[in-house]
């Protein structure tokens, strides 16, 4: 019996419902807060559910600030920190994933578990542990002192925040990278070597292109939470010099009387991430197309 073609769209229904309930509606609520008003006494957000009555005053102010005001620096800093943390994460995580996928042999699973186990500990606890280690009297600072490196890691340094982001998110890069590399057809690499490519050429011309989609997925997977991260900065810096977008959202939503501004920033961040996500989707589509060819 031939199945009705309707079955295929129907299979998407649970996912679509899930997306609508847990993304579509909440996102609309954020927009209603962003373009709504506040209670004059209690200063709570009063969402404006009717799009025809949306007030864009706060959104304009935030946009102006992001273009030429104080928020401009916050946006740029967030982008720079995330890109830097992503590059370092790849530098650290890719070799680990590569080793696990290719050279770990029968200990593969054990090693993968060992890499992941420390990250079962709550993120906050791990960051608080680093606060102790990095404090001037902390173990790490004293250890570095042996080599003549006397650096106040917790004085509001961007380096500390970037390394904090790397430390927090690198396992989320290792896992998808490992999954990608593990499934690669390594015979192609061997063929390249047989045809005279050096190991470096084989890596650059065969391994990397084949792993491209996985790399993009891993990059997106860690970039999305990094863009909205605020507690890494809260715990390791707390300096205006390292203020990220997440910190500003936290401030406006939790500690100011302008929750609409926080909601506007959430929407702007979402737009920014949408650009990154569309790049990912395009690159994976292109990769799939090339593979078909």
């Amino acid at each position: 019996m031939k199945r009705s073609p309707r079955i295929w769209p129907a299979l998407a229904a649970p996912g679509a419902t899930w997306l609508l309930a847990l993304f579509g509606i909440p996102f609309y609520a954020v927009a209603c807060v962003a373009f709504g008003t506040i209670d004059p006494i209690f200063r709570d957000a009063i969402p404006q559910w009717n799009p025809l009555a949306w007030d864009f005053g706060q959104a304009n102010e935030v946009l102006q600030s992001a273009i030429s005001g104080p928020l401009q620096g916050v946006f740029l800093r967030t982008i720079v920190y995330v890109i830097a943390a992503m590059i370092i994460s790849f530098a650290v995580g890719f070799p680990v994933a590569y080793f696990l996928a290719r050279h770990a042999g029968k200990h593969k699973l054990l090693l993968l578990t060992l890499v992941i186990v420390p990250f079962w500990v709550n993120y906050l606890m791990r960051m608080l542990a680093w606060v102790n280690l990095l404090s001037p009297s902390g173990l790490f600072s004293r250890f570095m002192g042996i080599f003549g490196i006397h650096y106040n890691w917790l004085d509001g340094s961007p380096i500390t925040v970037i390394f904090g982001l790397v430390y927090g998110y690198v396992p989320f890069l290792i896992l998808p990278m490992y999954a990608t590399l593990e499934r690669l057809d390594w015979r192609l690499v061997e063929a390249a070597r047989d045809l005279g490519a050096t190991s470096r050429q084989a890596f650059r011309l065969v391994t990397v292109p084949m792993a491209q989609a996985g790399m993009a997925a891993a990059a997106i997977l860690i970039a999305l939470p990094m863009f909205g991260d605020y507690y890494t900065n809260d715990l390791l810096s707390r300096s205006p010099r390292t203020e990220m977008l997440g910190n500003q959202i936290d401030f406006y939503i939790n500690n100011s009387q302008q929750p609409q501004r926080g909601a506007v920033l959430v929407m702007m961040l979402s737009a920014l991430l949408l650009v990154a996500l569309s790049w990912y989707l395009r690159s994976t589509a292109r990769y799939a197309k090339e593979r078909v060819k």
């Binding site: 209670d39 004059p40 209690f42 300096s239």
Partner: protein, 398 residues
């Protein structure tokens, strides 16, 4: 102790102002508040509107459980245990992080405590507007007379109808005496020390926009900490940015931990925090390493205790308030909390002779005279508040 974000999110006033939200909001949504906001100021004290009646005289205290809503670690557990033993009841504590979140949860019924500890006058106006508090019956609070005179009928709640003052504190500069000579505060403008680039990376300001913007104003010799003048605020913004650029400050409320740990040299903070800091000194480190400069021009403030209208054990809640006003209990509580009880029976000498506060921190203690001479942060109109928040955003955006 996780110290509170005091005086952070304020509402409306320029002096005993009553604001009808229907006039203000004009936004046409049905979800807006329906009460009215009544806020007193030092120059225009306010008798709050009476919502309901206080409990009758002579009732026996209830048995069962007293549920308290409190800041984290803001009451000595031993003090609570003693109360439980004394009255044969159980005390349960819920924690709040910000006044705004607590007021919201009280309004929507998520929190239903029998007693609230530690709120400030900025939240009071909203609690009363939402009809969440019950008037107090002082016949259950005989220790009320222990309060310092100025707080027996405070400007924000004339005759203490709904509130009883709890602790007092002032803004000032805490520092490490082993790294900073106290003469820097006395040889010129003491506030300048906060702008000294020698403390770069080892300096902190409060993560509380009203307090820290006021710091910049005091440093520039401006004492109007409730200004709505855009020029003054703009000057304060430049001053704060100068501080930021020269010292790369931390912006948090953790100096009570970081100073004793040696991670900071100097911090603009609440006076109670330096007393709390004593409990965080590493073993073997003398309390003398902590110092506090109490500026002549600064902000003084207090928080209070109050009983929600829906309290299930209102008599017991009154008894707990009275219990905290007992001199011995308040002293015991102070040794844990750090913050200074708002009692006239606990003087600077009492605290120093109790042995819990070193002579070097004598300056951090708030006398009734100092309390009276301090500036008070009062609530701002939404427009004025937006100006202050813009200054803060420019500062924190780095």
């Amino acid at each position: 102790m996780l110290r509170r974000d005091f005086l952070r999110n304020l509402v409306i006033t320029t002096g005993g102002l009553v604001v009808a939200p229907s006039i203000l909001s004009a936004c046409g949504t049905s979800a807006t508040s329906t009460g009215e906001l009544v806020i007193g100021t030092p120059t225009s004290p306010t008798k709050l509107p009476t919502n309901g009646e206080a409990i009758a005289d002579g009732l026996a205290e209830e048995k069962g459980t007293l549920e308290i809503l409190n800041w984290a670690d803001y009451t000595n557990p031993e003090v609570i245990a003693d109360f439980e033993k004394l009255f044969g009841v159980t005390v349960k504590t819920s924690i709040y992080d910000t006044e705004e979140a607590a007021v919201a949860k009280l309004r929507n019924g998520t929190l239903k405590p029998d007693l609230i500890i530690g709120m400030t006058d900025t939240a009071l106006a909203r609690l009363v507007a939402a009809d969440l508090l019950q008037p107090l019956n002082k016949s259950y609070i005989p220790h009320f007379s222990n309060l310092i005179d100025g707080l027996q009928s405070p400007y924000y709640d004339v005759d203490s109808q709904y509130t009883v003052a709890h602790v007092i504190y002032a803004n000032g500069i805490a520092y490490r005496t082993d790294r900073i000579d106290s003469s820097v505060f006395t040889s010129g403008n003491g506030y300048d020390a906060m702008w000294d680039s020698a403390h770069k990376g080892k300096l902190a300001v409060l993560d509380s926009y009203r307090d820290t913007i006021s710091l910049a104003m005091f440093q520039a010799g401006n004492n109007d900490v409730n200004t709505i003048d855009a020029d003054i605020l703009s000057a304060a913004q430049e001053n704060l940015i100068r501080l930021r650029d020269s010292t790369n400050p931390k912006v948090d409320i953790l100096s009570y931990q970081e100073l004793p740990a040696g991670n900071r040299d100097i911090a603009f903070t609440w006076s109670g925090d330096i007393l709390t800091a004593l409990g965080y000194l590493p073993e073997g480190v003398s309390p003398e390493v902590l110092g506090f400069w109490y500026p002549e021009q600064t902000i003084t403030a207090n928080d209070f205790l109050c009983v929600p209208k829906e309290s299930k054990v209102p008599v017991l809640a009154h008894k707990f308030i009275d219990y905290l006003l007992d001199t011995d209990v308040a002293l015991k509580n102070q040794t844990y909390v750090g913050y200074q009880p708002a009692l006239s029976t606990i003087t600077v000498d009492t605290l120093l002779s109790s042995g819990t506060i070193p002579e070097s921190l004598k300056d951090s203690l708030v006398t009734p005279e100092k309390y009276d001479s301090g500036q008070r942060l009062v609530s701002l109109s939404p427009d004025a508040d937006a100006l202050w928040l813009d200054v803060w955003a420019a500062f924190t955006a780095g």
